[in-house]
């Protein structure tokens, strides 16, 4: 809704994307919408990878609305600086060296991070390869067979503070991974190579940068980076 108002105010140059819930864009606003078309849906496929600039723009927009622009600029700059730091720490390494899969929820048929959401920013900055980067959904539901086949070096596990599916909480995930006859064969499980993120780190938000820092620190703690 906020974004539709932005279109109406002619602020399309300051928007990176739009999300409409039930309807197509209003016809008289469609030209402005078309100028800057990068549809973001909460859970569907992404046509373009999410970038930090999208998150920064939202920070600035909110700061503008609440008339705290200076704080918004400071926060946006801080996010940029922290992400650059993670990138600099991992730039020397070939991203193919360490592969990851980010498991969000569900034990029967896991939801994992696809190419282009929060996890994309994290993988690029931390210099690791997401084994499910060939999927465009935010969280595609994949099979354990594919997980085993792609056998990532490290599992990034979401510790979700909700209880709506199987394997939401970190303890449930680890118990499943280490007792299931299939998943305990994964290299990352046998060597207990886990990096723990919050749900918000795995979704586009200011905590995406937290996620990048945690993955970067995690692969060092696991001794994968000298």
């Amino acid at each position: 809704m906020r974004r539709v108002v932005h279109l109406a105010l002619g602020l399309q140059d300051r928007m990176v994307g739009t999300a409409t819930w039930t309807d197509r864009i209003r016809p008289n606003l469609a030209p402005s919408h078309g100028e800057n078309r990068d549809d973001e849906s909460g859970d569907g496929p992404r046509t373009k990878p999410l970038r930090l600039s999208t998150i920064q723009t939202e920070v600035r927009q909110l700061a503008q609305i609440f008339d705290v622009r200076a704080k918004g600029e400071a926060l946006a700059a801080d996010l940029q600086r922290r992400l650059e730091q993670v990138r600099a720490d991992n730039a020397a390494r070939d991203p193919k060296e360490i592969s990851i899969a980010s498991w969000f929820a569900n034990t029967e048929s896991p939801y994992v991070a696809g190419c282009c959401g929060s996890s994309g920013i994290i993988s690029r900055a931390a210099g690791v390869r997401n084994v499910f980067a060939d999927t465009q959904d935010e969280f595609p539901q994949v099979s354990w067979e594919t997980m085993l086949d792609r056998d990532p070096t490290v599992l990034v596990l979401g510790d979700l503070q909700r209880k709506s599916q199987t394997g939401d909480k970190l303890a449930d995930k680890i118990r499943f991974l280490e007792t299931d006859p299939v998943t305990k064969r994964l290299t990352a499980v046998r060597k207990k190579r886990y990096v723990i993120l919050n749900g918000a780190d795995m979704n586009p938000s200011i905590r995406t940068v937290d996620g990048a820092e945690k993955v970067s620190a995690g692969i060092r703690r696991l001794g994968l980076v000298r």
Partner: protein
């Protein structure tokens, strides 16, 4: 209804069934044995081919070696990962698909005969809606305190719903039509309860999780599911085969069956309980996989006619082969993503059923 009665009680063009004349009996029995052997061979072959197909690229030779090693022949020179993919993922999942297909198809065939209704399926007596209420109570409201899981809740809900149907039907005289109506009432009641719980206290994520499960999925299949469901279905099939002659007599109406000396009430109760337990077990393991139990018994009747001694094994074989292939499509078509198997059963099955209906058109 009328068409369905004709399907069963009318003279079957392909012969078979206890009421047919005895001439040519030997030839038919031979045909029956050949058919059963062919069916079994097709099922084994389907399972064997299905476990070589999957998102992971495992060579056919490796698949054979892995299965051979677990059965005690030779040694497979493969990684633990490949071994797990074949032996702990593909094989139990494919076997569970076969067991679910067989069990649901048998239950559907028996429900259709018992209730004298071609539209009956394993879920007609409220079992799937009872299972969904049970599952939602566990997932959304946290009933059971983590001791009873999703499948346990679904099983208890299914059995409760079935008990409600039996009580309602007993109070109403237990004729087939009353049992169907009691089933409709219970289905509505438990669906309403599920909707009430979901709308009053679930969030979108929870609803989605429960709905995916309810559409039916074999993704979580493990060896323990295969053993439990396989055992229940096998015992159920043996019991049903034992009373198959009585079931044939039901086709002529309950009065006619009673006049042949068949204890109608007891046979009916026995079969209702057996099919309910099979269905509840399968639903708690794999969700409510639709279509199989409704349509495949009709396909089997088209092949072997209405006599239950041949119909039940044929239905089981057709159901098993069908679900093995449907699940193979569900897990590979959108690799690496999964489709709910219930969606594919209808997409693949409805055109196949249309062909059968078309070929069987004629005086109804």
């Amino acid at each position: 209804m009328a068409a369905g009665t004709a399907l069963r009680a009318g003279p079957a063009p392909s012969g078979g069934g206890p009421a047919s004349p005895s001439a040519g009996k030997t030839r038919r029995r031979l045909t029956g044995t050949t058919l059963a052997a062919l069916g079994l061979a097709a099922l084994v072959l389907s399972i064997a081919v299905a476990i070589t197909i999957g998102p992971a690229d495992v060579a056919v030779g490796d698949v054979v070696a892995i299965v051979g090693q677990h059965l005690g022949f030779g040694h497979a020179d493969v990684t633990r990962i490949r071994d797990g993919i074949v032996w702990d993922l593909r094989l139990p999942r494919t076997l569970l698909a076969a067991v679910c297909g067989a069990g649901l198809a048998i239950c559907g065939a028996i429900m259709q005969s018992l209730l004298r209704n071609p539209l009956a399926d394993p879920f007609v007596l409220g079992i799937s809606s009872g299972a969904s209420t049970g599952a939602v109570l566990i997932v959304v409201l946290g009933v059971g305190g983590g001791i009873v899981g999703l499948s346990g809740g679904a099983f208890i809900g299914a059995v409760l719903a079935f008990a409600v149907v039996l009580l309602l039907a007993a109070g109403a005289g237990s004729t087939p039509d009353r049992v169907v109506l009691a089933g409709v009432a219970a289905t509505q009641l438990f669906s309403a309860l599920t909707s009430f719980i979901v709308t009053s206290s679930a969030d979108a994520e929870q609803t989605r999780g429960v709905l995916f499960w309810l559409l039916g999925s074999l993704a979580g299949a493990g060896w323990n599911d295969v053993v439990l469901c396989g055992f229940v279905c096998l015992v159920g099939l043996v019991v049903c085969l034992a009373v198959a002659p009585a079931l044939d007599a039901f086709a002529f109406g309950e009065d006619a069956a009673a006049s042949l000396g068949i204890p109608v009430r007891w046979i009916r109760l026995l079969l209702l309980v057996v099919t309910a337990l099979i269905t509840a077990t399968l639903v708690s393991a794999a969700g409510a996989i639709g279509f199989v139990g409704l349509v495949l018994p009709h396909a089997a009747r088209a092949v072997v006619g209405p006599g239950h001694r041949r119909l039940l094994p044929t239905t089981a074989l057709i159901g098993a082969i069908f679900l093995v292939w449907v699940d193979t499509v569900a897990r590979t078509a959108f690799d690496p993503q999964e489709l709910p198997v219930g969606v594919v059963t209808a997409l693949v099955g409805v055109p196949a059923f249309a062909v059968i209906l078309y070929r069987r058109k004629g005086p109804a």
